[in-house]
């Protein structure tokens, strides 16, 4: 089997408009103009996030687990401050793994997200 790419990552929601507003306005992701209001898609650089009512695809609602999607920002502390000013609550202090900073938060449906920035080069010397 040849998997070519990830077409989208599904973000389960109970409220399409609220979720579209969170990802579009609060996180500032661009809405894919070709997506419709029943299946809103937002572009996070290399990946499309599709806001989905799970019942429409035969699934029950359950939020994504902690830190399911790692969103790259240039500076985790700055981005965290901006989101906190908009009322987003983070879970715990920002974590320094020794290679990257991670700050865990959730969208209005409780889906686990993470602000992420790797500051350490990889073994081969390259940087993200």
């Amino acid at each position: 089997m040849q998997a070519q790419k990830v077409d989208f990552v599904s973000i389960p929601t109970r409220d399409l408009d609220r979720a579209a507003s969170f990802y579009g306005d609060t996180l500032g992701l661009e809405r894919d103009p070709l997506s419709d209001s029943a299946w809103p898609e937002l572009t996070a650089g290399n990946v499309t996030l599709a806001v989905v009512v799970p019942e429409q695809i035969g699934m029950e609602f359950a939020p994504l687990p902690t830190g399911a999607i790692a969103i790259r920002v240039p500076d985790v502390a700055d981005a965290r401050t901006e989101l906190e000013q908009q009322g987003i609550a983070f879970e715990g202090d920002t974590f320094d793994s020794g290679a990257c900073h991670m700050a865990f938060f959730r969208d209005p449906d409780g889906n686990g997200l993470m602000l992420h920035h790797r500051y350490k080069p990889y073994h081969d010397g390259s940087t993200p």
Binding site: V6, L27, L34, N46, P65, A70, E82
Partner: protein, 132 residues
């Protein structure tokens, strides 16, 4: 103020696992994804075109209860029926018939930890006439 200028990309999608060797076999061999040579045994990463899937060992989450991911990751394949058949031959079970949404084919399935995945192929052009 939105952090519009801040979000650069998705670095990885975390795939929670109770058994990283089993997961590595599934993503590396069954799905045939390429292992990121810069990733370690403790933090294994697999590359699929535009994004990285990172195996997240359950013990790293600090939680007692294991929760698989409920939001399907849509894996683009050139032909959903053919890819499904190959995965079925490799022992992967598909819980339902392949769905034709009117614009795409979707075959949902799960990894060994119950994380939600789907084979996906859009066949209809978008409203502006472009195709995926």
């Amino acid at each position: 103020m939105p952090v519009t200028s801040e979000v650069e990309r998705v670095d990885f999608i975390a795939v929670p696992t109770l058994d990283r060797e089993r997961s590595a076999k599934f993503y590396g061999e069954t799905l045939g994804l390429e292992r990121n040579p810069n990733s370690s045994e403790q933090w294994m990463e697999f590359e699929i075109g535009n994004v990285t899937l990172a195996l997240l060992p359950h013990e790293y989450t600090g939680r007692s209860e294991f929760t698989p991911s409920s939001g399907p990751i849509a894996l683009r394949v050139s032909d959903v029926d053919e890819a499904r058949r190959k995965l079925e031959e490799a022992g992967v079970e598909f819980p339902m018939e392949t769905i034709d949404s009117g614009v795409c084919h979707i075959a949902p399935f799960f990894d060994p930890d119950g994380n939600s995945l789907m084979l996906h192929r859009r066949y209809a052009p978008y409203a502006d006439g472009s195709t995926p």
